[in-house]
């Protein structure tokens, strides 16, 4: 399948079930809301070593937030509910509670309720108070700029992590341009985040390693450095730079929509801009229950 000169591989991305929550972070102005959201979603590119994958979903205008202040919504994904609870407490405690003027609210109502401000309240050393408004409990913790308000709980829902696209391009400039365009298109959609730096990962991995201690290692089939050296390369003389975009979403449909948006953005640039091929990463379909076939995604909306 070729669109605008870009070959779409007959392959699929393989994704896994995750647990996720959405938090709404508000502040006195957008700058400080962003400082808190950036910090809270920092070092959260991969569950392999970060504990969770997190990112900013979108900006919220004052009329979209519970307290009428500007804010951002962030999504956090973990492999288990237990780990997610730990990450919420650490990240909100160290990055939102600490950030001037912020408040934090649950961004999802339905699902298993887990602690948000419930444990952070003890920072108040006995001066914390709670307030139940319209059936929702909020904690008010005295801090040096006034008080930190946090909803008592947030809801954890089932989610999908690990949707991806591999963009095979002529050179670094073309690969970056295609990846940036695809990420920008995906960011316009709700319920998804691209957790890697700038939404893009250049160190795609395969399962397994020659070293027994490692469960994953560099995806040599897509490394241009190894073209001609490894037994089986996916590349050729033209595809000399590859970028991957990883997508976590609240539902399978959200991930599929983001992948489709990324495909469209890449195709729009086309071979003329140096994007030659779009592929996807998988493990033979044995590991993840969610399979996103690129050709099916292309067919879904045409």
């Amino acid at each position: 399948m070729i669109h605008n000169g870009v070959a779409i591989d007959d392959t699929f991305a393989e994704a896994f079930p995750m647990k996720a929550t959405r938090l709404l972070i508000t502040a006195h102005n957008p700058t400080w809301a962003r400082h808190a959201a950036v910090a809270a979603t920092g070092f959260a590119t991969s569950v392999i070593a970060c504990g969770c994958e997190a990112g900013i979903e979108r900006e919220l205008s004052p009329d979209e937030t519970p307290d009428g202040r500007p804010g951002l919504s962030v999504l956090l994904f973990s492999m288990s509910g237990k780990e997610l609870v730990k990450q919420i407490e650490r990240r909100v405690g160290q990055c939102v509670l600490t950030c001037p003027t912020t408040a934090v609210f649950a961004g999802i109502a339905d699902g298993e309720a887990v602690a948000l401000g419930k444990n952070l309240r003890f920072f108040g050393d006995g001066w914390q108070t709670s307030k139940v408004i319209a059936g929702i409990r909020y904690w008010r913790v005295p801090v040096m700029d006034g008080e930190f308000v946090a909803q008592e709980t947030t809801a954890v829902v089932k989610a999908v992590g690990g949707g991806n696209l591999l963009l095979l391009a002529r050179d670094t400039d073309a690969a970056l341009a295609a990846a940036e365009a695809a990420v920008a298109a995906m960011k316009r959609l709700p319920n998804v985040i691209m957790p890697f730096p700038g939404g893009v990962v250049r160190s795609g991995s395969k399962v397994g390693s020659k070293y027994a201690a490692l469960s994953a290692s560099t995806n040599d089939a897509f490394c241009p450095t190894l073209y001609g050296l490894v037994a089986k390369s996916e590349l050729n003389e033209q595809t000399r730079c590859v970028m991957e975009i990883v997508i976590d979403g609240l539902t399978e449909a959200d991930v599929a929509a983001a992948m489709r948006a990324g495909l469209d953005a890449g195709i729009e640039l086309g071979a003329a801009a140096g994007l030659l091929r779009i592929s996807a990463g998988n493990y033979g379909g044995k590991l993840g229950p969610y399979l996103f076939h690129l050709h099916k995604l292309m067919g879904a909306a045409t």
């Binding site: 307290d67 001066w127 307030k131 008010r140 006034g146 008080e147």
Partner: protein, 269 residues
């Protein structure tokens, strides 16, 4: 099925209407409802002695018609369904209710909503003393739900209340929210003397005239814009003197310092 109970005439002695709730009347025919016992003093008399029973209509509603100001404990421990009083109610209206809705078109007597734990109670008229408070001898007053008084409230309103949301559109008597443990009370009119006397926690919102603040309260130098917006927006849903709260600023006083000082008076400017 809905049940309408039409009071034949005002009872000579006070009448206890506990137990006449939608769940208890469900599935009963008119004759069975007429035989239900009602306590009057030491006597148990059949409901038909006092009320005409009319069945009909969908829903889970019990409607009382007439002046029931001598009928006490309407909606006592109500746990679901809807009760409408198309007139005034006696004492203990909605006391101990945990869910459902009680709507009183007239006034309510003493101890309305006392120890209410859930659901919604609306009184279109006035309420007597000790509304939203505790039963005599009990440590905790109202502990959940929403209580709306569109008229005025008597004295000791919200005494020992510990949770829930209350709105009084009119004025309140002396010792408004005395010994409040927690919860939120908003007042549209003016409060009598000693508002918030001995309150431990909780928020009192004065949307109308500012009360006399006791010397056991300290003025807050820090603003609390987030919780004010959350609270004001919720109160604004009920309209009246609360409709524009979210757009107004508040001056807070913290106290009662004589009881820990974790409560607040929010004086709307």
């Amino acid at each position: 099925m809905s049940v309408r109970l039409r009071l034949k005439q005002a009872p000579a002695l006070r009448l206890d209407l506990r137990g006449i709730v939608p769940a208890a009347l469900a599935g009963l025919d008119a004759a069975a409802i007429e035989r239900l016992p009602l306590a009057q003093g030491r006597q148990a008399l059949a409901l038909a002695e006092f009320f005409d029973v009319v069945l009909g209509g969908d829903g889970d509603t019990v409607a009382f018609e007439g002046d029931l100001s001598r009928c006490d404990r309407i909606g006592w421990q109500l746990a679901g369904g809807r009760i409408v009083v198309e007139g005034s109610a006696g004492d203990h209206a909605g006391a101990g209710m945990t869910a459902g809705e009680l709507h009183i078109h007239g006034n309510a007597g003493l101890l309305a909503a006392c120890e209410m734990a859930g659901g919604q109670l609306v009184v279109e008229g006035n309420v007597g003393d000790f509304a939203a408070s505790a039963q005599p001898g009990s440590l905790d007053g109202m502990r959940g739900g929403t209580f709306i008084v569109r008229g005025n409230a008597g004295e000791r309103f919200g005494d020992r209340m510990r949770r829930g949301t209350v709105l009084v559109f009119g004025d309140a008597g002396d010792f408004f929210a005395s010994r409040l443990v927690a919860g939120s009370i908003a007042l549209g009119g003016r409060a009598g003397a000693h508002a918030g006397y001995g309150m431990r926690r909780g928020s009192l919102v004065f949307a109308g005239a500012a009360p006399t603040v006791a010397p056991t309260f300290v003025p807050a130098i820090a603003e609390a814009p987030v919780i004010w917006q959350l609270l004001a927006r919720d109160l604004a849903r009920h309209g009246g003197p609360f409709a524009d709260l979210a757009g107004r600023r508040v001056q807070r006083h913290l106290g009662d310092v004589a009881a820990g000082g974790k409560g607040e008076l929010m004086l709307v400017e």
